[in-house]
Amino acid sequence: MKYPVAVSVNGRAYRREVEARTLLVDFLRDHLGLFGTHVGCETSQCGACLVTLDGLTLKACTRLAVQADGAQVTTLEGLLVDGNLHPVQSALLKECALTCGFCASGVVLAAKECLERKPVAGEDEVRRSLEGVFCRCTGYQPIVDAVRSLAAAPVRDLRDGATAEL
């Protein structure tokens, strides 16, 4: 038995038929070919499958594809604007905050969400917001520094990467 799913991912509309058990993360990867969202643990620990669903940042292994019917989804690939990196991505690169890059989907989206919720987050708050993502390469400090470097830049709207009044 297959179910229709109509979903907007990174601004593009998709219609697919999926099995009821298909997870959102598998839907993105296997049905839409968006491989920027990774599978790291299968048990909702590592955060490599973070996406934004109707404005909420969540682990795509905790949602069924059918639950995303009618939703707006943003994945790591969707953060590029006209081929330019999102400020969070640029900041992470500048701080050498990723090396193997497998955790990028989790780290970038968790960092972005942290900044959107609390634009001037302190060290502890940033670390707390990264609690749900694993990075095995960098010891987290460069990630924290990257987020905090953006927190220091006050007039930047991180939702779309454009400069705006806060």
Binding site: G36, E77, C100, F102, L130, E131, R136, Y140
Partner: protein, 777 residues
């Protein structure tokens, strides 16, 4: 040997960074060749069992299933994996079947493979497989492997010893006799899985018309894998091509060849032309794949009353699991040479017996064997300090090699560095005296606070090959096209360390062009025909030196061509930026490359192919050094250890890109803390893994680690033209050992002299409770 100019530059971040940070990396699970079939492996649920039968009809009839394979079917197309080339001395490596034939030797050994149109269908079908196992008594504790009349993990070997080595120098027994005190302690480290965020995976395709096998694998050693797979698949190596996509971390767990890779290749040959893919689940990764060895043994230290060590010995047993992992650079005795660490000790002896058990196969993860010895000597230093009531830094200072180069009594040669300066810097930067004072005053208030120090000497790039037992060299080819664009190919490529960036910069520097004119080719055994791999701390030191050699040779050739064009001799050709000049005459780099491709017409005998290959063979092993100071506090109610401060000073030789090095150093410290406090791979009494997901396997998280104070005092090594010693896992092990020392220091007021890692809350809580209980507190 030194380069003419600086290669170090302003860090421009990772070359591969934009690709990875925007989700455009290509990892093994992202490969989707058309018509691909998926493999699900059915594994043994018993640690040791006779395989009575595997009934496949029900599974074969399941929807979407293309085939179900056991040893019988695969035996038509492949043999077991066997060690190709000379085995290290006193080592036994039984063949490792793709799928177990008569006997399952560890819980998790693959028994059957279900191949289906989708992963879900393969998994579903596997439920219908009837596996009939007869449990057999097994060896789960390495100590019992050596007893009389115990089961043999491999009956054909007639015993359970995998290998033995003894590394010794000086007369240890005499040292113990002369010593004022002889301290002994049993110390142990558990097996664990390093848990890179990306699990393993492989894709294979058989091209029948060409009789060729194409393999994509998330491996650290593509050429080694090719050799092993070709051997087992009864193919010439020239018929096997291995590609490595982006690798999401490895830490030693993706070295060598494994049965899963062989299963996928064998099935690909059977189901050709359809390609076949297997992606390891997290459970398979944590519970069943190659782990780090467990080790335990008796440490003995002979010391004078003034704190000078006279003799040290370690007699240990390592648990390699059910099969000796088939990995390049297998050289466990290298560990023994480092038993003296940074210290001038007149006599030392390390004897290790490695045994087969019914646990998953285990090898060196986090450090090419150096980790064990470094931890042992640094625990020994603290045991001495405690026994003599000396400060742990003072004991270390007393015994340090005053000057390098020096050779330890176990024949490790340290070519460069300054131990005293590193200790001074660490003491100064960590404000060690202040921390000591603070620790005492907090202790008086009843807090369990500890301070730990570890001075680790590791192995970066091993060499030379004739001494290391395995290949220590690396090869690189640099090719320049007619338009001036350059490509670098090497056998040792990145597993997430930023090699593309640094290797491109090395080549660009030697060629005299900008780094963005150089691309680093993906690891592919067809474009780079020979290579060794990316593991230990060898990549920049050895692979980088090979790239430098090839690029320099090519630059010399370009100069020769330029001399012809400029009507001068080669010694009068200079570079101005990328251009070649002689007096007022000039030819641009681009024009030169174009002309050089027609050079055969310009100059008789010259080749139009602008390409040079260089093999770098290190003449000795490099020894990166790291000193780490850690402060911990223990919650006596819960047993939880928190790391409050970390200060690290390193000498990794020349650092070509300090920002990338720092990223790895910080990552290494976080892993070291994890090894000390969290990581172990416990198994039940029946050999069943107790950690199958990240819910049971704790890892370092953002809130679990403090900010790290890191700094560098580099002294270039003379063992390679780049002066790089490599990173390896020296920093990880320094952090690990210092945190363990700090935990013991925190518990010393309770009379504790040693705690084996990991210092989990439960373990520490029990220790605190039993000490306070018996102490009447």
């Amino acid at each position: 040997m030194s380069t003419n100019a600086r290669i170090e530059g302003e860090s421009t971040g990772l070359e591969e960074g934009p690709r990875l940070v925007s989700g455009c990396g290509l990892f093994i699970a992202d490969l989707r060749p058309p018509e691909v079939l998926h493999v699900h492996l059915v594994r043994s649920l018993e640690a040791h069992a006779r395989i009575r039968s595997i009934e496949t009809p029900a599974a074969s009839a399941s929807p979407g299933v293309v085939g179900v394979f056991t040893h019988t079917e695969l035996a038509f197309v492949c043999d077991p994996l066997e060690w190709i080339g000379p085995l290290p001395p006193n080592t036994r490596c039984p063949p490792r079947p793709a799928l177990a034939q008569w006997e399952a030797r560890f819980a998790g050994e693959p028994l059957a493979a279900v191949v289906a149109e989708s992963v879900a269908e393969a998994r579903k079908a596997a439920e219908g497989l009837e596996v009939n196992l007869e449990p057999l008594p097994g060896i789960l504790e390495p100590e019992s492997a050596l007893l009389q009349r115990v089961p043999c993990v491999h009956v054909s070997l007639g015993g359970n010893v995998a290998y033995q080595f003894v590394v010794s120098g000086g007369d240890t027994e005499e040292g113990f006799r002369k010593a004022d005190r002889v301290l002994t302690h049993r110390i142990a480290r558990p097996r664990y899985h390093p848990a890179p965020l990306e699990t393993r995976g492989v894709v294979a395709r058989w091209l029948e018309s060409e009789k060729r096998l194409e393999v994509w694998s998330s491996t650290e050693s593509p050429h080694f894998l090719r050799a092993q797979l070709a051997g087992a698949m009864r193919l010439p190596q020239s018929a096997v091509r291995v590609f490595t996509p982006d690798v999401g971390g490895a830490f030693g767990s993706k070295l060598g060849a494994t049965p899963e890779e062989l299963v996928v290749c064998a099935i690909a040959r059977i189901v050709a032309p359809r390609p076949v893919q297997w992606i390891e689940t997290r459970e398979e990764s944590l519970a069943f794949s190659t782990q780090a060895r467990a080790t335990s043994g008796e440490l003995k230290v002979g010391v004078r009353e003034d704190g000078r060590l006279l003799s040290i010995s370690y007699d240990g047993i390592d648990d390699v699991g059910a099969y000796l992992p088939i990995v390049p650079g297998h050289n466990p005795s290298a560990e023994g040479t480092l038993l003296c660490g940074a210290y001038q000790i007149p006599a030392a002896r390390m004897a290790v017996t490695a045994v087969f058990t019914n646990n998953p196969p285990a090898t060196s993860c986090h450090g090419a064997g150096a980790c064990g010895a470094g931890y042992i000597i640094e625990r020994a230093m603290d045991l001495v300090a405690a026994a003599l009531e000396l400060d742990c830094v003072e004991v270390r200072r007393l015994n340090l090699f005053r000057e390098l180069p020096a050779t330890t009594v176990t024949r490790a040669r340290y070519d460069s560095g300054d131990f005293s300066r590193l200790v001074d810097r660490a003491v100064e930067r960590s404000q060690y005296a202040v921390l000591r004072h603070e620790t005492s005053s907090r202790r008086r208030k009843g807090e369990l606070v500890g301070l730990g120090v570890a001075l680790l000497v590791g192995i970066g790039a091993q060499g030379p090959s004739r001494e290391t037992g395995g290949p220590a060299w690396e090869a690189a080819t640099v090719h320049v096209s007619a338009d001036g664009s350059a490509e670098v190919f090497t056998g040792g490529l990145a597993c997430g360390e930023g090699h593309e960036t640094v290797l491109a910069r090395i080549a660009a520097h030697a060629l005299g062009v900008k780094a963005d004119a150089v691309r680093v080719g993906r690891a592919d055994t067809q474009t780079m025909r020979a290579g060794v791999g990316s593991f230990g701390g060898r990549s920049i030191a050895t692979t980088g030196s090979a790239v430098l050699g090839a690029a320099r040779a090519l630059e010399r050739r370009l100069r020769g061509v330029a001399a012809g064009i400029l009507c001068t001799s080669v010694e009068y050709v200079d570079r101005d930026g990328a251009d070649f000049v002689s007096g007022s005459r000039r030819v641009s780099y681009r024009d030169l490359c174009l002309l050089a491709h027609g050079a055969s017409q310009l100059e008789p005998g010259s080749s139009p192919l602008l390409e040079e290959t260089f093999v770098f063979e290190p003449q000795g092993s490099t020894h990166p050094i790291s000193i780490h100071v850690a402060q911990v506090v223990i919650d006596s109610e819960t047993g939880e250890v928190s790391v409050e401060r970390c200060c690290n000073v390193r000498d990794l030789g020349r650092e070509l890109d300090p920002a990338l090095v720092e990223a790895q150093v910080r990552g290494g410290i976080a892993l070291g803390i994890e090894l000390a406090l969290l990581a172990g791979s416990p198994r039940g009494d029946d050999g069943q893994p107790l950690q199958r997901t990240f819910m049971e396997r704790p890892v370092s998280r953002a809130q679990g680690v403090p900010r790290f104070d890191i700094s560098s005092l580099p002294t270039p090594t003379t063992l390679n033209p780049l002066g790089a010693k490599g990173l390896g896992d020296t920093v990880t092990m320094a952090a690990f050992a210092s945190v363990m020392n700090a935990v013991v220091d925190a518990l010393r007021p309770l009379g504790v002299l040693h705690v084996d890692p990991p210092a989990t809350p439960e373990k520490i809580w029990r220790i605190v409770r039993s000490c306070r209980g018996t102490g009447g507190a």
